[in-house]
């Protein structure tokens, strides 16, 4: 590593430690930010010589990164940005403190995938899904798919592990090669994790025709784009691998969506030579991920935290939650997106029959939505009010990003 990078890396680690010691944060961003100021190529220097996997998509990045780290951990120590700090400063921090760790699994914000591919030259990139998320500041879904596709054209040597059930991902993962110039399209391994949300992929990104669906299959009515045959498939409470062997997956994380994330983790680990039979038991050690799925006992209530940031993830959260009293909390601060319109993309009907409480900065937006959805609810001002309003037993909490962090803070920043 060049001297400048060494200095930058060392300063980066110190800043991260100071940030933690000062109680200002978990140090997962600030160190990398300072390091990159000293040496803009620091991420590339820190990546050199490591086998790296990147994990990107709209939903499930943090959890899949955690599960993948556990699976790749069969081979030895794995560096990862486990606090969800998923931009280059977070990657730099994670690698700077990782020492000589030969493996890294990095969660990447979908907007930064091209840049991080360039800097880290990963061995594998996992593409989970693309759906609408905070359009007041984020890219539209079709533009995002186009950015990914353009990035992969420049990195045809990377191994791609991608979701066969999401037409936008399939299109992004299969850029045309250029045989005349000896450029082959990247090698793709497909997984099927199921997809509840379809409302961002009715129109073919290739030709603009309608995409038809029947069961798990989908195909474009105007061009050859269609669902590829997946090599990794969720089946019952386990995962089928490419050889046809079925592995029971015992997760501590709820919901079918996490079985899908487990399948992805096994598929990525396999690209590093990890056999699923060796990795599968390690997936069960993951209990919660930066507060997501964490369970806290307080005042006789067993509180479980579920993060849901956009329509697709709300649908998954309803699937995970037990039939129990449920607190919904919505904010619309910068990290959440300022616009609450998406509440009308979510059908809250699954909550009918449960005791529903609402809170958060934008509880009134939620109130109007639930009223129109014929879901009775009670508005509470504080988290403590919510706890007092439900009987002892399970309380499911579903919240969007900053609302989730607020509640997590009330619970001593549970991980």
């Amino acid at each position: 590593m060049p001297l400048r990078a060494k200095v930058a890396s060392s300063v980066s680690r110190t800043a991260a430690a100071l940030s933690r010691a000062a109680g200002r944060g978990d140090g997962s961003v600030i160190g990398g930010w300072i390091g990159l100021k000293i040496d803009p190529d620091l991420l590339a220097h820190l990546s050199a010589g490591r086998a790296i996997a990147l994990v990107s998509g709209t939903n499930g990045k943090t959890t899949t990164t955690r599960l993948t780290s556990a699976a790749v951990g069969v081979l030895g120590r794995v560096a990862t940005n486990s606090f969800g700090a998923n931009m280059p400063s977070g990657h730099t921090s994670a690698l700077a403190k990782a020492g000589s760790t030969p493996y890294a699994v990095l969660e990447v914000d979908e907007h930064y995938l091209a840049q991080v591919l360039e800097a880290t030259e990963p061995h594998v990139v996992a593409l989970l899904n693309l759906s609408r998320d905070q359009l007041d500041r984020a890219k539209e879904v079709a533009m995002m798919a186009q950015l990914w596709r353009a990035a992969l054209v420049r990195h045809t040597d990377v191994r791609v592990v991608a979701n066969a059930d999401d037409p936008m991902v399939v299109w992004a993962a299969t850029p045309p090669g250029d045989p005349a110039r000896g450029i082959n399209p990247p090698h793709v391994t497909w997984f099927s994790a199921g997809q509840r949300w379809h409302d961002d992929s009715w129109v073919c990104p290739e030709c603009g025709s309608t995409i038809q669906r029947s069961g798990e299959q989908w195909w474009c009515t105007g061009c050859p784009l269609r669902r590829p045959e997946p090599q990794w498939v969720v089946e019952d409470e386990g995962v089928l691998d490419p050889t046809g062997a079925w592995h029971k997956v015992s997760l501590q994380l709820p919901g079918r969506v996490n079985l899908g994330n487990a399948a992805t983790a096994l598929a990525v680990a396999a690209e590093f030579g990890v056999r699923p039979v060796d990795a599968v038991s390690r997936l069960g050690i993951v209990t919660s991920v930066a507060g997501r799925y964490a369970q806290v006992d307080k005042d006789g209530r067993n509180i479980r935290l579920l993060l849901a940031k956009n329509p697709a993830s709300w649908l998954e959260a309803f699937d995970m939650a037990d039939e129990a009293p449920t607190l919904l909390s919505i904010n619309a601060r910068d990290p959440d997106g300022l616009d609450t319109s998406w509440l009308f993309d979510v059908d809250f009907a699954p909550l009918r029959g449960r005791q529903v409480l609402i809170t958060g900065d934008r509880a009134y937006d939620l109130a109007v939505r639930l009223d129109i959805n014929d879901v009775p609810f009670q508005h509470v001002r504080t988290f403590d009010d919510a706890i007092r309003s439900v009987p002892p037993g399970r309380l499911e909490v579903i919240a969007n990003y900053t609302a989730f962090q607020d509640i997590r803070a009330e619970l001593d920043r549970v991980n």
Partner: protein
């Protein structure tokens, strides 16, 4: 109003439903049912023929590609023009508002609109993203408009349409006026589920559709609280 029930057509949810546009169909249907009107909501995808005999047509927001495609298919279909000729109500939101005009820009190209409203849209110097508020044309007798906008367009009104509102916060058409209306056609940049924050506007569309001069009042406690909260937030941001 069609004979048996109020028919609401949601035009092309596969193309024009970027952010919660379904909300407007849900809100109109619910407010009509609460007044005892039978309602039928029909979702018409872009590969289907548009029925020309509905009471209210909703055109939602969309990305550039789907907006251009939606306009092309509506022009080819002709159903919306026939419906308007028969006096149906049309409510256009964001991209759906722009495409009711004579022309709009998508992906840097000028596209032909439906020419149902005398207005044209081009690109502004910056994207308009944030709270949108305005005082509605007094002839419509509605409380102030409140909403959220997210668009790159600027819309220029011709003499045959009236602005829906005078802007008090945000950009709307051009920073001065917002939206447009003529007859029973109305469009706004207040995007997505615009009617959630504007129940009186929902009732105006229902009155246009049914010919009723008045509708029984409903319990709008939560919408009122939401409207007040948003008004305070806009005022606080300006202070």
């Amino acid at each position: 109003m069609s004979t048996e029930s109020l028919r609401i057509v949601w035009i092309y949810p596969d193309l024009l439903s970027t952010y919660g546009d379904r909300g407007n169909a849900l809100i109109l249907a619910r407010r009509a049912r609460q007044r005892g009107m039978p309602v039928e909501v029909v979702e018409v995808r872009s590969d289907q023929q548009l029925p020309a005999t509905a009471d209210i047509y909703l055109v939602g927001g969309g990305e550039d590609g789907p907006q251009a495609l939606g306009a092309q298919r509506l022009l080819a279909d002709g159903g919306l023009h026939r419906a308007v000729a028969q006096g149906s109500v049309v409510f256009g939101v964001c991209a759906g508002y722009q495409l009711l005009g004579t022309s709009f820009f998508a992906k840097g190209v000028q596209c032909r609109g439906l020419e149902l409203l005398d207005l044209r849209s081009d690109r502004g110097p910056s994207r308009a993203v944030g709270e949108l508020a305005g005082d509605i044309d007094p002839r419509l007798g509605l409380p102030p408009l409140t909403g959220f906008e997210n668009h790159g367009g600027r819309t220029h009104l011709g003499p045959e349409v009236s602005p829906l509102a005078r802007v008090t916060a945000g950009i709307g058409n051009d920073g001065a006026t917002e939206g447009a209306w003529r007859g029973k056609l109305l469009g706004t940049y207040s995007h997505g589920p615009a009617l959630a924050r504007n129940p009186a506007l929902a009732d105006l569309l229902l009155r246009w559709a049914t010919g009723a001069h008045q509708l029984p009042p409903l319990d709008d406690t939560w919408s009122d609280r939401l409207r007040n909260e948003r008004r305070s937030a806009v005022a606080a941001a300006r202070a």
